[in-house]
């Protein structure tokens, strides 16, 4: 596979390892070490993509992360599809399958290219000005039905994968003394200096190999050895240190406050046959004591008419393809050099056997030191010239040379045939990360670039090398070494590296060099097809802020985020507005530096690792019984226990019936539990809950209601006094953590005078509720050391005892209205005790019931569920819990709010019961309650249904509702309008069953 386009040796590819791959279905070969881009170029393929808007043929512009054109989809099958990858970054492996994007039916014959015909209409912002009429079928009709669907279909680049991604992604938190980002000469030298001092160093580079621009050098020697050998030696030295972590294929994509840097490492995409279980990428979250930014610089294209044809490439990219990959992108080249890298490219191409037709330097006084060597190689150099037009349909075939400064006028200069155009517009320091870290940039007239200036407070960093405008290998090495030493607190050593064949002029030019004749387009943002004319139109229409220009033209908003285009755009706008560049300013740099896979950020969080699944000690039993579960917070709770052939409603009806007639058992382990201990425990609870606790006797329980300071109910639960200085507080399942946090807040900051301590015991106890007329009979054979008889153990009391030989806290409480107990046993015994109770329950014809039956049973009794009857706007009085308020209390959390005007006004919504006129009709929770029949749209609601169930005990439906002035409406008829018609309801008190509470005694 030597071919026309491979050089005869040299470069860092392994010519002994041939790899085959396909692009758009056609088979090609490349070498190990190739990128997809270099391998395509080696095969003479330049046309690799179509542009976004006009579908113009596009080639490979760069050799790195900044690539705007050569975006491809790589498909490894079975969900392993990745759209929008830059061919310049995709490492070749045997069997790689790549496809071009955004073209139909094929890359060469793309129907979308008809857009070019309309291109005069498609100027910046055109869509704001049109697509509004005709108003045939109402305002916006045509937009909704015709234009928007068309626009959407045209938009987008690659296709999103259609199968779930099977790969895993890893995460690693890391700390180091010095994080060096970028492994070019500056970064390598910085890492060497820091490592020498014994520091913990992480060195990352987005490329597959460390070495940065040195990998693209041919003639440079450092300390007497070729640059590329120097790199190998430096990497060997670093790798030998256990304190150094080397991370190739790792881009630093986000720089956050306090030296927190996010890196994305590519682990398997470059492998032909990766282990399918190995992670594909890894997110590194690094907290560094010091950061050295050595991110280099990015070359700028030159803006001339039709500067986007395939075959037109950045000079540095051309050098990289020739020197690093052994690929000759063209056979006959024209070089436009506004700085040294262009001249250097001419020399490298020439040496590699490309015919260099001409070097033109658009600078009036372009006098590179290298011009002499270029001329000496027999290459013509024209100073003060530029390209005024180009030809070639799918590949550049000729360029027209004109005088620089002939902007807009058709030029009659000579046409030079070529298949390769190389442009060196100057270099833009990569300040992305510096700016993300909220450092201030300052315009440097000298460097003609924005450079890092003040570092943001809280960050500890320094920039080195080309990213701060220090160009040239020697300077970059020295600068990097000094930065590395400074990062570990050492004086600079004044070490200098000996470098030969260095080049140092990287300034170049920015802005437009001719918009060209009508019909031609001078592209600034290649990917978004933004031209010089678009930018000027934006400024003309009043979009003078650079941020407005960006948004109106979309320049810099494509996947490359304007890496190659932003400075040119800025210069063009500044020129048009007659303002200096720094006055126009930059758009904001944001993470990520280059796009980052969602999966990399989400990491392991999927399936059950998305959020911990919390299960109770009795859960395995419930699963084995075929229980259905519901999510409550992170808990899985048994929702109901269907038996063969039962749906939810029959199962729940059976469970409810069984509890009321015999006995049922319920897993209440998820309830929050807090042990409140200390001499002031009672006083503390007194201040938090609406209820009184001082006088609660040891061994007695009380239903507690907790408000927030705004006076609204946020939690409730039974609180038992275990000892004079010890309470067992229960909370709702979802509220457990919140209540403990709130209690700690008051204990620590509002009432630090109280001697009280809080400990979460939620998971210490498994809680088994046994409810129903036979509850005592169920427990009697299991308990010992405690009398659970009616006289000695009244409702709302708590005792320590033993069950199944295990120490337990036994509560006599009821959330069903039946005789009931809640057994708390240490969690490891929960499963066994549950099964023992179950055996007894079965003897009494009992059942296990789930949360749904629990809800029905409590609703029959008019007990509220916080979060269902309440929604954060409900006071105790609203739900009829005014009685629970401790008499004569001077204060408790939320008390003051209860006397605010809105809390005492009439018309507040109050909890009532609703009985449908048709007893079979179960209302829908959330349905609205109104006064009249068939309410017209806009009728105010009196309230809403909070709970609605079929009540097996009553043989009819029941509902709870919050209704304005509900208590005064008891005995009246209201209406619940539903889509299928009005549902008449009678307002009743919310206690449907056993209002006197006689069943509590079994």
């Amino acid at each position: 596979m030597a071919g026309l386009h491979r050089t005869n040796g040299g470069g860092r590819v392994d010519r002994t390892k041939r790899l085959s791959f396909t692009f758009d279905g056609k088979a090609y070969e490349g070498f190990a070490g190739d990128k997809l881009a270099s391998a395509l170029l080696a095969n003479g393929v330049h046309l690799v993509g179509r542009s976004y808007k006009y579908h113009r043929p596009r080639g490979i512009l760069s050799a790195g992360a900044e690539e705007p054109n050569a975006l491809v989809t790589v498909d490894r099958g079975r969900g392993r599809t990745a759209p929008n990858l830059r061919a310049t970054q995709v490492e070749l492996y045997d069997g790689l399958v790549a496809e071009s994007q955004n073209r139909w039916p094929s890359l060469a014959y793309d129907f979308g290219a008809v857009n070019s015909l309309f291109s005069p209409l498609l100027a910046a912002g055109f869509y704001y000005k049109t697509f509004m009429g005709p108003r045939l079928l109402g305002s916006n009709w045509a937009w909704h039905k015709i234009y928007e669907p068309l626009i959407r279909r045209a938009a987008g680049l690659g296709k999103a994968p259609s199968l779930p991604d099977p790969d895993r992604y890893a995460n690693r938190f890391a700390h180091c003394d010095v994080l060096v980002i970028g492994a070019g000469p500056a970064g390598l030298a910085a890492a060497l200096a820091a490592a020498e001092a014994g520091a913990r160093v992480i060195l990352c580079d987005e490329q597959a190999e460390l070495g940065g621009s040195l990998l693209s050098e041919w003639s440079v020697e450092i300390d007497g050895v070729p640059a590329s050998s120097w790199v190998d030696e430096a990497v060997r030295t670093l790798a030998a240190s256990s304190r150094v972590t080397l991370l190739p294929r790792t881009q630093a994509f986000g720089y956050f406050a306090q030296n927190f840097v996010a890196l994305a490492e590519r682990l398997t995409d470059h492998l032909g046959n990766p282990d399918p279980a190995a992670p594909r990428e890894r997110l590194w979250q690094v907290r560094a004591k010091e950061v050295v930014l050595a991110t280099g610089a990015i070359e700028r294209p030159i803006v001339f008419p039709d500067n986007d044809r395939p075959g037109i490439m950045l000079a540095d990219a051309a050098r990289t393809y020739v020197n690093r990959y052994g690929v000759r992108p063209g056979l006959r080249a024209v070089v436009i050099a506004a700085c040294d890298s262009g001249y250097a490219a001419a020399l490298d191409l020439h040496r590699a056997g490309t015919a260099v037709a001409m070097v033109i330097d658009p600078r009036a006084n372009g006098d590179s030191g290298l011009a002499g060597s270029v001329r000496a190689a027999g290459i013509e150099v024209q100073i003060g010239a530029t390209v005024t037009a180009t030809r070639g349909s799918q590949r550049v075939s000729a360029v027209q040379i004109g005088r620089a400064g002939t902007e807009g006028r058709a030029s009659t200069g000579e046409w030079v045939p070529c298949d390769h155009v190389v442009m060196a517009g100057g270099w833009t320091p990569s300040v992305h990360l510096f700016s993300q870290s909220r450092g201030k940039l300052a315009w440097s007239d000298d460097a003609q670039a924005f450079l890092p200036s003040a570092i943001a407070p809280g960050q500890a960093q320094r920039s080195a090398g080309a990213c701060r405008g220090v160009f040239g290998v020697a300077a970059a090495l020295d600068d990097g070494f000094a930065a590395g030493r400074a990062a570990v607190g050492r004086e600079p050593l004044g070490r200098t590296f000996k470098v030969t064949h260095d080049i140092t002029d990287f300034r170049g030019i920015a802005g437009s060099h001719g918009a060209g004749a009508r019909g031609s387009k001078a592209f600034v943002d290649f990917q978004h097809d933004v031209t010089v004319r678009d930018l000027k139109l934006a400024a003309q229409e009043g979009f003078r802020a650079i941020e407005h220009v960006k948004r109106y033209t979309t320049t810099g908003m494509a996947t490359d985020q304007g890496k190659t285009s932003n400075i040119n755009a800025l210069a063009i706008v500044a020129d048009h507005l007659g303002k200096p560049i720094p006055e126009v300013g930059l758009t904001t740099f944001r993470q990520p530096y280059t796009p980052v896979t969602f999966g990399t950020i989400a990491g392991a969080s999927r399936g059950d690792l998305f959020d911990p699944v919390r299960r109770t000690p009795c859960d395995a039993w419930a699963q084995a019984q075929g229980a259905m579960f519901e999510d409550v917070g992170a808990w899985k709770r048994a929702h109901y226990f269907p038996q063969a052939g039962e749906d939810m409603h029959t199962a729940v009806a059976r469970e409810c019936r069984t509890v009321r007639s015999a006995v049922g058992m319920f897993d209440a382990s998820t309830l929050g539990k807090i042990e409140v201990v200390g001499p002031d425990a009672a006083e503390f609870l007194e201040r938090l809950y609406i209820n009184s606790f001082q006088k609660l006797g040891v061994g007695r329980c009380r239903y507690g209601v907790l408000l927030n300071e705004a006076g609204f109910i946020i939690d409730d639960g039974v609180i038992g006094r275990i000892a004079a200085d010890r309470f067992h507080v229960t909370t709702t399942t979802g509220g457990a953590a919140r209540v403990l946090h709130m209690m700690e807040d008051y204990a620590q900051t509002e009432f630090p005078d109280l001697k009280v301590w809080l400990t979460s015991t939620t998971e210490q106890w498994a809680v088994i509720a046994v409810q129903g007329p036979r509850a005592r009979d169920v427990l009697a054979p299991l308990v010992d050391g405690v009398d659970i008889g009616a006289t000695d153990f009244p409702h709302m009391s708590v005792k320590a005892g033993r069950i199944c030989g295990v120490d337990a806290r036994i509560f006599r409480v009821s959330f069903t209205g039946e005789l009931g107990f809640e057994i708390n046993v240490p969690a490891d015994f929960g499963a066994d005790v549950w099964e023992a109770v179950w055996r007894e329950v079965q003897k009494h014809g009992g059942c296990a019931y789930g949360t749904e039956s629990m809800h029905v049973l409590r609703a029959e009794k008019g007990f509220i569920i916080v979060g269902q009857e309440t929604d954060g706007t409900v006071t105790p009085d609203d739900v009829g819990l005014g009685w629970a308020t401790g008499k004569g209390k001077r204060d408790f959390v939320g008390m003051r709010s209860l006397s605010r005007p809105d809390m005492v006004r009439s018309g507040r919504k109050q909890l009532v019961g609703l009985l449908t006129a048709d007893p079979k009709r179960v209302l829908e929770e959330g349905s609205q309650v109104v006064e009249g029949l068939r309410p017209p749209a806009g009728t105010p609601a009196l309230g809403h249904v909070t709970s609605a169930y079929w009540s097996e005990a009553l043989g009819r439906s029941i509902a709870l509702a919050l209704v304005a002035d509900g208590r005064t409406r008891i005995g009246t008829r209201l209406n619940v309008p539903m889509p299928d018609g009005d549902v008449a309801v009678d307002v009743v008190t919310p206690v449907f069953l056993d209002p006197k509470g006689e069943r509590l005694n079994g």
Partner: protein
């Protein structure tokens, strides 16, 4: 009188704990008696046999007992005995009447031992602390997060940590570390 005595079942029963040869492994620390003690450290006196550390983030350990500093007024007391009732009585009587809180949480959480040459990398898949020996030496302990779960992390040896985690979060921690084992080398 109960005719059946309940058996203890740890939430880790039946779990195959993951390991990666030579690099890291996870084992069950076994049953233990655990207490949260809150109050002034000196009130405990000698009752526990190990003094309560007053230097933040330190654990004192000795012959099967350990006191871990969790906060300025909070310690986790660990004892390698399955039944802590005797210890509970001893501690309670030492504290009798003094303003402090002792709460038995033996069943609230479980212990996992993570060890191996790559233990730091493994834990750093979900733990954002610097686990280097210089910053997290043997004997250091802290409450912290492992991905989405709160844990107590205690370094008991150069290549060994003990994790204490609430029982319902234990399966998550095990699954998370299992997943993370794919990402260490």
């Amino acid at each position: 009188m109960a005719d059946q005595i309940a058996r203890r079942r740890s939430v880790l029963d039946g779990w195959a704990l993951p390991s990666r040869a030579g690099l890291a492994s996870l084992t069950n620390a076994g049953t233990a008696a655990r207490f949260v003690y809150r109050g002034a450290p000196e009130l405990v006196g000698d009752a526990f046999g190990v003094s309560l550390p007053t230097v933040p983030l330190r654990a004192h350990a000795q012959s099967g007992r350990a006191a871990l500093w969790l906060g300025p007024d909070e310690w986790l007391l660990l004892s390698a005995e399955a039944d802590g009732s005797t210890l509970a009585v001893a501690l309670s009587s030492a504290l009798n009447g003094k303003p402090a809180a002792l709460v038995d949480i033996s069943h609230r959480q479980v212990g996992l031992i993570v060890s191996g040459s790559s233990v730091e990398a493994l834990l750093n898949a979900g733990c954002s602390l610097d686990l280097d020996m210089t910053t997290f030496p043997v004997g250091m302990c802290t409450r912290t997060l492992l991905a989405k779960a709160e844990i107590v992390l205690w370094r008991t040896a150069g290549d060994t940590f003990r994790i204490e985690v609430a029982r319902s979060f234990a399966p998550y921690i095990v699954a998370l570390l299992d997943e993370a084992m794919h990402g260490i080398a």
